[in-house]
C-alpha cells in the first residue's frame, strides 16, 4: 500500500505558483527525499500534506486519507517536524512532550511510558526538566523529532531536519532517522537542500525546482544519467596517437582534452585505470597524475537544473530573502 499518493497537487499564492502539478506516490516504509534549493516548493508541499495549507487544486492522500476532506484522520496518522523550531520555550522538554501527547489523546500511563521512551531515543532524558528556551539548536531538533514520534505516526515529515546544525549533531540525527525507518518501518518524507543528506539517507530522491519534480529515482540511478565516472589524466609527451587509440575503445563514452589533461567518462572507472596507464605507456607517454571522480548528486542537480544548488541559494537569499522567509 502507498503511504502517500499525490495527484496534480498545486498551490498558488497570489503571484507565485509554489507547487505546480505534482504527481507521485510513496510506498509504505520508504525514506523519501525532496531535494531542492530554497523556494523550490518543498516546505509548501509538506504543509499541504500535513493539512496546514489547503491545496489550490489537485488531491493528496496520506495514510489512505484525503488531506482536504479527512484532515483529522490525516493528523492522527502523521508526525511533523517543522523547518523552524515549534517548541514552547517557557515549557520544559517533558512538558512540551506532555502537551503533545495529551493533544493526541494518550492516557496517563501510556503517556509517561512513551515520553520516557522517546526521550531515551534522542538522549534527552537528562535535560527533560529544563526549559526548552535554554536548549541548543541540536537539542531542540532532537526533542522535536522525539515529539513527532510519540503517537507512533505512520508517516513522519521532516522538513530540513538538520538545517543549521553542526556536523556532529547532523550525523546523530541521520542515525536516528535511519534507525527509525529501518527498525520501526515508519514512512519518512524528508526535505533537504544538502546533497550528502539526501544521498546518505533516502531510498528515493525527487529533485524539485520551481514547484516541479525534474527527476525522481534512487541516488545511484540518478547518477547513472551522467554516464559514469570521470577519469582525469595528465600525460607528458605527444598524446595525439594515444587519444586516437582511446577513441576506438567503446567503453569510453566521452573524451575531453585540455592541454595535457584528458577527461574520460566511463563506467567503473577504478577498474579501467590500469589499462589506461598501460596503453599510455605503450604510446610512449609518461602519466604524471591520475584522478578518479565519482559523480555526485551535485552533478546530477546541475545536469537537471543547469545550476548548482549553492549558486541558486545565494541568488534566492539575495533577491528573494524576505519573501522566501515569509512563505515558509
Amino acid at each position: 500500500m502507498d503511504a502517500i499518493r499525490v495527484e496534480n497537487l498545486t498551490k498558488r499564492f497570489e503571484d507565485v505558483t509554489a507547487v505546480d502539478g505534482l504527481t507521485f506516490a510513496v510506498p509504505q516504509g520508504e525514506l523519501f527525499g525532496l531535494l531542492g534549493p530554497n523556494g523550490a516548493g518543498k516546505t509548501t508541499t509538506i504543509n499541504m500534506l500535513s493539512t496546514l495549507l489547503k491545496p489550490t487544486s489537485g488531491r493528496a492522500e496520506v495514510a489512505g486519507f484525503d488531506v482536504g476532506r479527512n484532515r483529522d484522520d490525516v493528523r492522527k496518522s502523521i508526525g511533523v517536524v517543522f523547518q523552524e523550531p515549534a517548541l514552547d520555550g517557557k515549557l520544559t522538554g517533558r512538558e512540551n512532550l506532555e502537551f503533545h501527547a495529551m493533544m493526541y489523546g494518550l492516557g496517563r500511563d501510556e503517556r509517561k511510558a512513551r515520553i520516557d521512551e522517546v526521550l531515551r531515543l534522542v538522549d534527552l532524558t537528562d535535560k527533560a526538566a529544563v526549559l526548552t528556551e535554554k536548549y541548543s539548536g541540536g537539542m531542540k531538533r532532537r526533542l522535536e523529532i522525539a515529539r513527532g514520534l510519540i503517537q507512533w505516526p505512520k508517516v513522519l515529515f521532516l522538513d530540513e531536519p538538520t538545517l543549521g546544525l553542526d556536523a556532529q549533531t547532523r550525523r546523530h540525527i541521520w542515525d536516528y532517522v535511519k534507525k527509525l525507518n529501518k527498525e520501526r518501518r515508519v514512512t519518512i518524507i524528508l526535505t533537504t537542500h544538502y546533497m550528502e543528506e539526501a544521498d546518505y539517507l533516502c531510498d528515493r530522491i525527487a529533485i524539485m525546482d520551481h514547484g516541479k519534480f525534474v527527476a525522481l529515482d534512487t541516488s545511484p540511478h540518478l547518477k547513472d544519467v551522467l554516464g559514469g565516472d570521470v577519469v582525469s589524466m595528465e600525460v607528458e609527451g605527444d598524446a595525439d596517437a594515444y587519444v586516437a587509440e582511446l577513441r576506438t575503445l567503446d567503453w569510453i563514452k566521452k573524451i575531453g582534452r585540455h592541454g595535457e589533461e584528458l577527461n574520460l567518462t566511463m563506467e567503473k572507472g577504478e577498474r579501467r585505470i590500469p589499462e589506461l596507464i598501460t596503453t599510455a605507456q605503450a604510446n610512449g607517454l609518461t602519466v604524471s597524475c591520475v584522478h578518479l571522480r565519482k559523480p555526485s548528486l551535485e552533478d546530477v542537480f546541475l545536469h537537471f537544473t543547469g545550476r548548482t544548488i549553492r549558486e541558486e541559494d545565494v541568488k534566492v537569499n539575495m533577491w528573494h530573502g524576505p519573501m522566501a522567509h515569509g512563505r515558509r
Binding site: 496546514l52 495549507l53 517543522f82 515549534a86 514552547d88 520555550g89 493533544m103
Partner: protein, 255 residues
C-alpha cells in the same frame, strides 16, 4: 462536532504554566495600574473632579476604571498571543494536532480568562491596600461577572485581529489606535460629560464604557446607566466577540 475537553484542558494548563513562570510580566502588569491608582487616585482624591457623582471620592471612582484598564490590556494581549505562537512556530504544533479548532479556541479563552482575572484580582487587592472599600457581597460577585465579561470580550477581539494578521507588524498599530482609544473613551479615568459631543458619542459605542460603568454600579453604588443595561450590553458584546474570534481563528491558515 466533538469538543475535546482534554485539548481545552491542555491549552489552559499551558497558559497557566506560562503565566506563573512569567513573573516579570505579572509584576510589569501590576506596575501600570499601581501608578495610576497611586498618582491619580491619591493625588486627586481631595479634588472635586467634574462629573463624578456627589459623595463619591475620586479614588473610589477610579478603582473600577483601573481594573477595567488592567482587564482590557491583559485580555487583548491574551487574544493577540496567537501572534507570538505564530512568530515562535508553536502555532503549527497546535494546528497540526488532531483536535478540532473549537476546542483549541475554548482552551485559549479559558486560559486567557483565568490569567486576566488573576491580574485583575491582584489589582483589586492592591486597591484595598490604598483604602478602597466594597459594598454588598452579592454586588461584589456581580462585579466579578462583569470582569469575566470584559475579559471574554477583548480576548475574542484580540483573536479576531491575530487571526487576520500574518506577523507582528500590525501589533503596535492595534495597541496605539484601538486599545488606547478604547481605554480613554471608556471613561475609566474621568467622566466624559464635559468633552465634545463627538467624543461622548464615541464613548457610547465603546463596549468598555459599559464594562467599567457596570463595575462602578456594583462596587461603588453609582453608575451612569442601570446595572441591568450594562450587563445586557456586555453579555451580548462578549458573545459576539467570542463567536467571531473563534470563527476567524478557525478560518486562519497557520503558516
Amino acid at each position: 462536532m466533538m469538543i475535546s475537553w482534554t485539548a481545552v484542558y491542555v491549552m489552559w494548563l499551558r497558559e497557566m504554566k506560562r503565566f506563573v513562570r512569567a513573573k516579570s510580566r505579572i509584576i510589569g502588569s501590576l506596575i501600570q495600574p499601581l501608578f495610576f491608582l497611586g498618582f491619580l487616585g491619591l493625588g486627586l482624591n481631595k479634588m472635586a473632579v467634574p462629573g463624578v457623582q456627589t459623595g463619591v471620592t475620586y479614588m473610589r471612582f477610579l478603582v473600577p476604571g483601573i481594573i477595567g484598564m488592567t482587564l482590557l490590556f491583559s485580555s487583548s494581549m491574551q487574544g493577540l498571543s496567537v501572534l507570538w505562537d505564530r512568530e515562535f512556530g508553536f502555532l503549527k504544533e497546535i494546528m497540526v494536532a488532531p483536535v478540532n479548532r473549537v476546542s483549541i479556541v475554548l482552551g485559549r479563552i479559558a486560559g486567557g480568562t483565568t490569567s486576566t482575572m488573576l491580574q485583575g484580582l491582584l489589582v483589586l487587592a492592591l486597591s484595598f491596600l490604598l483604602g478602597f472599600k466594597l459594598g454588598h457581597w452579592p454586588l461584589f460577585l456581580l462585579g466579578l461577572v462583569f470582569m469575566v465579561l470584559i475579559a471574554f470580550s477583548f480576548i475574542g477581539f484580540g483573536l479576531i485581529f491575530a487571526s487576520r494578521m500574518k506577523d507582528m507588524q500590525g501589533f503596535g498599530i492595534i495597541i496605539n489606535f484601538i486599545i488606547f482609544p478604547l481605554f480613554f473613551l471608556s471613561g475609566a479615568l474621568f467622566p466624559l460629560n464635559n468633552l465634545p459631543l463627538v467624543v461622548r458619542l464615541l464613548s457610547y459605542i465603546d463596549p468598555l464604557t459599559y464594562g467599567v460603568d457596570g463595575l462602578r454600579g456594583c462596587w461603588i453604588g453609582a453608575s451612569a446607566h442601570p446595572i441591568a443595561v450594562n450587563l445586557m450590553i456586555m453579555t451580548a458584546f462578549s458573545l459576539v466577540m467570542l463567536f467571531f474570534g473563534a470563527y476567524f481563528f478557525e478560518k486562519s491558515e497557520s503558516v
